[in-house]
């Protein structure tokens, strides 16, 4: 039982550090998660600086180089490292710019969802009686409709488009978010130290800001990573279904569906955006998983 370990040197030294430093130590020990974090940071930099880094413009056409394979192929050209598409656009530049749309917008979406979700979730968690019961049943109904389907319905209302996709995904992710935050708040509310604060005469705001929030924000970060990976997948899936970003926007899902007709002639135009998409989601999941297990390990000490 590690819980009752008071006297070993390592754990006492460990306990002297701040919770956040302890968390970082556990996270650092997990090398795979660290690689995920580096990948995540690299993608974030790519998303913010895309137009500067990309060698060519997004829609710049090179009529002398149509459907060129990547440069390591025999007929490839070193000017276009990852080849070109059917309109002679450099695939590397398009993919780099796509980071802004798919990854950057997904981060934005997840951040807005976090803001709304935390406010509403805390409200749901703190309310009692009929109000909370009605809210929960409403959540139940929306939870039973899958997020992508919900997003598709909202897009059917608003019409296709990249910005509408963002709204749709925010609305579709919210119920799940509210539900998770509500559970965290309810769990924390039932603990003794909160009851002690109530008895000391603290008001709701005080309990929330001093008692509950410092104890749940790390878990909120974990929920954030989960909704971020869903957001990336949903934005690209909607782009792929031609309901989200419309060509010539360089969103990864849209690039993929645009090049679908050339799957036989130019398989790299389909494979490459998918690989990037895969790495974006993988890095997010790695960070989220690493954080979760680090939280669990810190609790076990």
């Amino acid at each position: 039982m590690a819980k009752f370990n008071f006297n070993t040197d390592i754990s006492s030294e460990e306990l002297n550090k701040s919770p956040l430093r302890q968390l970082w130590r556990h996270f650092k020990a997990n090398h795979v998660a660290l690689v995920g974090l580096w990948l995540f940071i690299a993608l974030t930099i790519l998303a913010t600086l895309a137009p500067v880094i990309a060698p060519y413009g997004v829609n710049q056409q090179h009529t002398d180089a149509l459907l060129l394979p990547p440069s390591w192929d025999d007929v490839g050209d070193v000017r276009f490292i990852l080849g070109t598409d059917d309109l002679g656009r450099d695939i590397l530049s398009r993919l780099i710019n796509g980071t802004t749309y798919t990854f950057g917008l997904a981060i934005l979406t997840a951040l807005i969802t976090t803001l709304l979700g935390v406010v509403l979730g805390v409200f749901a968690g703190m309310s009692k009686g009929v109000r909370s019961s009605i809210l929960n049943h409403m959540l139940d109904v929306t939870l039973s409709i899958p997020s992508l389907l919900l997003a598709i319905i909202i897009i059917a209302l608003l019409g296709p488009g990249l910005l509408n996709t963002v709204w749709a995904i925010i609305l579709a992710l919210l119920p799940q978010y509210i539900h998770s935050v509500r559970n965290l708040v309810v769990q924390e509310l039932s603990k003794d130290y909160i009851v002690a604060q109530w008895l000391d005469g603290a008001n709701s705001w005080h309990i929330l800001s001093r008692g509950i929030f410092p104890n749940i924000y790390e878990h909120i970060v974990v929920i954030f990573t989960m909704s971020l990976s869903t957001a990336i997948l949903d934005i690209s899936a909607l782009g792929f279904l031609k309901l989200g970003a419309q060509p010539p926007t360089a969103e990864w899902g849209a690039i993929l569906s645009e090049n679908l007709a050339f799957i036989y002639l130019a398989p790299w135009t389909v494979a490459l955006p998918g690989i990037l998409l895969f790495f974006a989601v993988l890095s997010t999941n790695l960070v989220g998983d690493g954080l979760r297990s680090a939280l669990k390990k810190r609790k076990a000490i």
């Binding site: 929960n136 109904v141 039973s144 899936a237 998918g274 790695l286």
Partner: protein, 344 residues
């Protein structure tokens, strides 16, 4: 006690269905265009038709009366007609839903067959190499976008190797009469001479979509089974059993497994919601004639009555599946029946 629990669940079910139908009903006002057109599916309504239709849809009366008439029509199977095909939407749904259901059921079956044992193995060898391998695979599976996986499969198995067909349910060579809508059952029921060949062909068509569709639910089930198993293995009665000298396999199979699999039953029911969504994408890629592809097409065509009907059918199905799984769960697990007082 059990009856009370079932009663409460059924009340909840009715409440959810009521909210869903209110939402669907309000869609015909939220969608662009004339509510009468959106409700009936008839475009270019002439002046004298308009009066009769308003009468039928009770548009001249109060909103609650319109809603009651909407519910009555839904119950009678009068869901309006589609803009695109000018055929009743209910007919479309009855014809298309079995195809989606068939695909989803096989995928669910595959994910149960692979997911649960993998989860158990992973928990039994916690933090040893089988656990690490399974964990890595789950993480990779979680991170793969379903449409990209489908395209990779098509590139490899259909275009590169030419082993499997890439679209449809059965080769056009075989004509199978439509009885139940489930292609495999239809082939078995039909009395055609090429029964065996058609069956093999249908299985070949099914293989790739089923693999693609089952990936995500399999990953979810692996994780869930593993976590649930690890939680049970931490409990005191397991420690007691271990102290008594039971072997590892005895512990897992006799004591831990039953309790660990209880929450998994509920989780299986919850999978329908992600299955149906992913089925929409899978159907589009593999040209599978199901309700998902039809719904996406309806959105392209701005076919509002069809979107409305499709949403109603799909969501009702998901809600029913969730509540059924919940009830089955409560039959096996008496503890859950006692603690549910308006909680989720």
């Amino acid at each position: 006690m059990a009856l009370e629990y079932i009663f409460r669940r059924i009340i909840l079910l009715c409440f959810m269905l009521l909210l869903l139908s209110i939402f669907t009903f309000s869609l015909s006002f939220l969608f662009p265009g004339d509510p009468l057109t959106n409700l009936s599916g008839i475009q270019d309504i002439s002046f004298h038709e308009s009066d009769a239709l308003s009468e039928k849809y009770k548009l001249d009366q109060s909103i609650p009366k319109q809603f009651i008439s909407f519910i009555t029509r839904v119950a009678q199977g009068d869901w309006g007609i589609s803009f695109a095909s000018q055929k009743p939407i209910f007919e479309h749904i009855v014809a298309l839903f079995p195809a989606t259901l068939e695909l989803a059921l096989y995928a669910l079956l595959a994910s149960i067959v692979f997911g649960i044992p993998a989860g158990i193995i992973s928990a039994a060898y916690y933090e040893k190499w089988p656990d690490k391998i399974i964990n890595t695979l789950t993480l990779l599976g979680y991170s793969t976008p379903v449409f990209w996986l489908a395209l990779l499969m098509i590139m490899f198995f259909c275009l590169q190797l030419g082993l499997l067909p890439m679209s449809g349910r059965v080769s056009l060579l075989y004509e199978i009469p439509d009885i139940t809508g489930f292609i495999l059952i239809d082939i078995l029921l039909s009395d055609v001479s090429y029964k065996f060949n058609a069956f093999i062909d249908a299985i070949k068509h099914l293989l790739l979509p089923t693999i693609v569709l089952s990936t995500y639910p399999t990953m979810v089930l692996i994780r869930f089974t593993r976590d649930s198993m690890l939680e049970v293995l931490e409990q005191n009665y397991i420690k007691t059993a271990r102290a008594k000298g039971l072997s590892r396999s005895q512990l897992i199979f006799r004591h831990a497994l039953r309790n660990a699999l209880l929450p998994v039953i509920k989780q299986i029911g919850l999978q329908f919601s992600s299955l149906i969504t992913l089925a929409m994408i899978t159907e589009v890629i593999f040209s599978w004639p199901g309700i998902g592809r039809w719904l996406i097409d309806s959105i392209y065509q701005r076919d509002f009555p069809a979107i409305q009907g499709g949403l109603l059918a799909v969501s009702t199905f998901i809600i029913l599946a969730t509540v059924t799984a919940d009830l089955i769960h409560s039959v096996f697990d008496p503890i859950i029946r006692n603690q549910t007082h308006g909680k989720i």
